[in-house]
């Protein structure tokens, strides 16, 4: 905001000196689109690329990207929306898909509908659906969070396993390999944060369920997928194949520093992994391990987010135009962000591009994008509801207790009891 004011001040000074004609020109140059998003290796870098493409054709527009951590973006957004002060808000904000309906429903009128401008028929339908409220579509669908098992080939091989062993894993087998890796290399298998429910969500969705049923009602007790997810994490903790992590940055540092042998997460982490150039060739990608639940597959989703334009923005039209021009129409843009950042977009037309067929040298020449595209089509559809954060918190309270001997059934009972009060 400050710099926008500064630019306004500059143009005002210019006007005083050079007259009214220049004043109009100065105002036209003052169009700054402020964007809030997280992850410098991913969303921030991609928005920079999008901005560069847009400003080439529209030199009168400047894009200012503010890089926060995800919780900070969400909390600042929520505070800004609640205060009703437009100056406290950006023009474009990135919102994770789990939270989209929460914002749309709690702050009606705060986001600009894009239905009139954007042709949504070209996007993956599940992405469009989660940003639709009362017949209006509010966001620009962005990346998918299709998951994969990223692993260090050198550590796995040292433990006596091959890349072929990493395909079609069950979680039990994964833990077994983890023990072998520690015995042979001294490295742990995973970085694991017991205050993060991410792994719970990955496993649960791979088995086709969520915290909520299709109608949005709580589905904690009797949820076989959730039970399996907690079961796996109890085994991981009891087997001690993890290195405890505290918070996001610490968790990322576990695998970027080479301290652990594997990471199970969304495809958007590819950019962060590839940022460690000296580890080139050492990484492999496999489908995620499966659980023994009917209908469970080796594909899931974690995160994934979309861009939203604030209704209070004074450069609303430019912001919408930026999103529409680049994210809804520029297929070449999707090729670039896929290769550079590992962004699997949700614009269906982008999938046919050549980049999806390119082998990636960082991953030893594997055609990883073809794999991710294939897994993307296998993700079971679930209803994220509007209370994922609340139930996540209830789950995260129980996770450390599982490692200390609490039974999975007792954990589910406690999660259900906490969630029931939180979800209202």
């Amino acid at each position: 905001m400050q710099s926008r004011d500064r630019i306004r001040l500059k143009s005002a000074l210019g006007a005083a000196a050079f007259g009214a004609a220049l004043f109009a020109a100065g105002l036209a140059q003052a169009k700054t689109i402020t964007v809030w998003c997280w992850d410098p290796n991913f969303n921030v870098a991609i928005m920079k690329e999008a901005g560069a493409r847009y400003t080439k054709a529209h030199p009168d527009v400047t894009i200012e990207i503010v890089d926060f951590s995800k919780p900070d973006v969400e909390q600042k957004l929520q505070a800004g929306l609640a205060s009703g002060v437009a100056e406290a808000l950006p023009d474009i904000v990135l919102i994770e898909d789990y939270g989209a309906q929460k914002y749309l429903q709690s702050f009606p009128g705060s986001f600009a509908p894009l239905s009139g401008t954007v042709d949504y028929s070209g996007f993956a339908p599940y992405k469009v659906e989660l940003m639709t409220l009362d017949g209006e579509v509010y966001g620009m669908p962005f990346d998918s969070g299709v998951t994969g098992l990223f692993y260090r080939k050198d550590y796995i091989e040292a433990a006596g396993y091959t890349a072929a062993d990493m395909q079609n894993l069950t979680w039990d087998k994964f833990i077994e390999i983890g023990k072998a890796v520690e015995a042979k290399t001294g490295k742990k298998m995973l970085g694991y944060d017991t205050s993060d429910a991410g792994l719970t969500r990955i496993i649960m969705q791979s088995a086709g369920q969520w915290y909520f049923d299709k109608e949005g009602g709580l589905a904690i007790e009797g949820n076989a997928a959730l039970k399996a997810a907690l079961d796996v994490q109890k085994k991981i903790q009891e087997a001690g194949i993890y290195k405890p992590a505290t918070g996001w940055n610490d968790w990322v540092a576990k695998f970027t520093s080479g301290d652990v042998a594997a990471v199970v997460t969304g495809v958007w982490i590819t950019g962060t992994i590839k940022a460690q150039a000296e580890q080139s060739g050492k990484w492999g990608v496999a489908p995620i391990p499966t659980v023994d639940v009917p209908g469970a597959v080796a594909a899931s989703n974690l995160g994934g987010s979309s861009w939203y334009v604030l209704a209070s923005s004074d450069v609303k039209d430019e912001a919408i135009d930026l999103l529409d021009t680049v994210y809804a129409k520029d297929v070449d843009f999707y090729q670039t962000i896929l290769q550079d950042r590992g962004a699997v977009g949700s614009l269906l037309a982008a999938r046919t591009g050549a980049a999806y067929d390119t082998p990636d040298a960082f991953f030893g020449g594997e055609k990883i994008w073809q794999s991710f595209s294939k897994w993307l089509g296998e993700i079971p559809a679930v209803n994220y509801g509007i209370f994922t954060n609340e139930v996540d918190a209830a789950v995260a309270v129980q996770l450390p207790k599982l490692g200390k001997g609490e039974s999975v059934d007792a954990a589910i009972e406690a999660i259900a009891a906490q969630a029931k009060v939180q979800v209202q």
Binding site: P71, Q75, Y98, P244, W248, N249, D392
Partner: protein
């Protein structure tokens, strides 16, 4: 000689125009929010869609295990931490009051110094110092005090120990200053007389110093209790997770009422009404505890 009625009104108008702006600002920024939050605590709803709910939020309090956990944690913190800190502060104050002590000024400054630090800055420092492979664990390992690194951040018990250590470090010096100031007001001749009468030093401390400091001890107890009840920055920054679950410490072990209010407002589906209700719980608790402490420490007529 009383001023004539006209003159008095003139003074009144002048007086009111001096205090008027301050009163208006206090009404606008203090009284109005307090009344409005009380009104909000009777409302329920998501985000800006609030509707009147009567005592619905209070009923919800009784059924909410997270609120009960937060309340339990908060009570635990002030029951354990406030006595530790105040005892420590009192002893340090008495030690530093000794006129034979060298470098008194320097030591006083050093012990008061943590208090000057911003809450967030010191929280972040503590966080990095107490990581699993942080400097504290490395030091403890190097000195062979522990054989395994202490899981400060991932074990509920140690997370609470860490939080109590941190607040004690930050606030002991602050309370010490009050005691030091009060010690200066005690007449030295009382000590002299008791020494001549052969009163041992521990008895001088418990029978003379402590009773004479009673008003200050009461004051620091009340302010420390209120401060601990409102504990937020440390719980939010030292051990809180930045994941979407956002638990404060492993298993919400350092979740305080203030952090819960924050979560209800900014992290979860925004529920301003219920958050206001929880904040009124703190108001009631502070009022009750202050009353109890004044009652216990009242001057008894003999």
């Amino acid at each position: 000689m009383s001023p004539r009625p006209g003159l008095r009104r003139y003074y009144d108008i002048n007086g009111w125009s001096f205090v008027g702006p301050a009163v208006a600002l206090i009404l606008l920024f203090m009284a109005y929010p307090i009344v409005w939050s009380l009104w909000m605590s009777f409302q329920q709803g998501r985000g800006m869609r609030l509707s009147f709910a009567g005592f619905g939020n209070i009923i919800r309090l009784t059924q909410d295990p997270v609120f009960q956990l937060a309340l339990g944690n908060t009570v635990l913190f002030f029951v354990v931490q406030v006595p530790i800190m105040l005892t420590l502060a009192l002893f340090i104050a008495v030690l530093l009051d000794d006129p034979h002590l060298k470098f008194r000024g320097l030591l006083r400054t050093l012990i008061f110094l943590p208090c000057v630090m911003s809450l967030v800055v010191y929280s972040v420092l503590f966080k990095s110092m107490f990581l699993l492979d942080g400097i504290v664990n490395q030091t403890l390992l190097a000195l062979a005090i522990v054989s395994e690194p202490i899981p400060w951040m991932s074990d509920p018990f140690w997370a609470r120990v860490l939080l109590i250590t941190a607040i004690t470090w930050r606030w002991t010096g602050y309370n010490m200053i009050f005691y030091l100031a009060a010690l200066q007001n005690i007449d030295k001749s009382i000590y002299e007389a008791s020494r001549i009468d052969g009163v041992p030093s521990y008895a001088r401390f418990f029978r003379l110093t402590v009773p004479m400091l009673k008003p200050v001890i009461l004051f620091t107890t009340v302010t420390s209790t209120i401060g601990t009840l409102q504990l937020f920055d440390e719980a939010r920054n030292i051990v809180a997770s930045d994941t979407s679950a956002g638990t404060a410490g492993p298993g919400d072990s350092v979740l305080t009422l203030s952090v819960y209010i924050y979560n209800l407002t900014f992290r979860f589906m925004p529920n301003f009404g219920y958050a206001a209700t929880v904040s009124y719980v703190i108001v009631v608790l502070v009022a009750l505890l202050a009353f109890v402490q004044f009652y216990v420490a009242r001057e008894r007529d003999r």
